[in-house]
Symmetry: C2
Subunit: 169 residues, 2 copies
DNA sequence: ATTTTATGTCAGCCTTGTTGACTTTCCAAG
DNA sequence: CTTGGAAAGTCAACAAGGCTGACATAAAAT
């Protein structure tokens, strides 16, 4: 910000904002995201599940007891899409749906032991890749990585991300 | 690397490798990527095109004259999937397919003026978001961002990314 | 002359997203 | 107590964009 308000691009101060640099960032996101999802995809292929199931499992694990509506908001899909996924996971005994105690219309979602098992397999694979990348790049790079990603989110996504950052259930 | 080989986790040196930190990174990727693709998606909705068309347009713009096989390798889809997309783009006059001069089996792909127009609209939107994020995070964060993303790619993706990094056609 | 490569195309399938319409359950306001 | 509306679930239909398999053609390579 200091350099952005300092007037015209003085020297190399703003060279990281050239279209060329931005294009590289865009392409890095494309290629990195593909690799990022590859490990879970490999684990899930062959099972009847896909990336949609992975996402549901991840966020139920992350926030046990979350309601269907909560999950809907985080995943950003329609209830019909999510319902198809949840029906499969519940039917296969990976997710348990408990009627709310205060509001009995709500369903609170929990992973079963079996569901936790798959979650662990999926997140172990994804964490291993992330850990290797973090280790290779070092702590300062990691800080920058997170800063840029966070700045890239639009307001609603950032709100959801940050609300997940700290507390558990 | 220096701290990784320095022995057991001394003090806070390796705190950035905790499962909690890795989970935050994983979720940051999820939310950031969703926002990252949101602007082009908005532009394309209503047209008959989707994200697949965007990717084809991006890489044809990036490497004019690229062959179908090249594009196949970069996008990582089957020729049938790509062909459906290319047929639409060629039919609508956004992409031109030229028979190769040396090897007449090859088709060299170029954007037409109309195709360049759409490319610009899409990449302007995506660059604007990326520029805002870069500016907010600053040049050092950007460097870290790129380092981590690159380290996250598997070998083949990194090769493709880097081969695009420098030269044009 | 034969094989391989690059491309295109048809048909059919799957996953995962979408809308729209409808029901059931239940809280809360009247 | 009745009724309105919210939360959840379900059915049907559809679209985008992946996939496989099979096949056709032209041209290069052997």
């Amino acid at each position: 910000m200091a350099q952005a308000t300092g007037g015209p691009a003085s020297g190399e101060t703003l060279l990281f904002l050239t279209d060329e640099q931005l294009r590289k960032g865009i392409e890095a996101m494309f290629f990195a995201y593909r690799s990022f999802t590859a490990d879970p995809d490999r684990i899930l292929e062959g099972m009847d599940y896909g990336r949609a199931h992975h996402r549901a499992i991840h966020f139920i694990h992350r926030s046990p007891g979350t309601t269907v509506n909560n999950l809907l908001a985080i995943l950003g899909v329609t209830k019909q899409s999510l319902n198809r996924v949840l029906r499969a996971l519940i039917g296969d005994g990976l997710v348990e749906s408990r009627v709310g105690r205060q509001d009995k219309r709500e369903r609170h979602l929990h992973l079963t032991a079996k569901g936790e098992g798959l979650e662990r397999a999926l997140s172990d694979a994804q964490r291993a890749r992330m850990r290797a990348a973090y280790r290779a790049a070092g702590p300062e790079a990691v800080q920058g990585f997170r800063q840029v990603l966070e700045a890239m989110m639009d307001a609603e996504a950032r709100r959801q991300y940050q609300s997940l950052k700290e507390g558990g259930a």
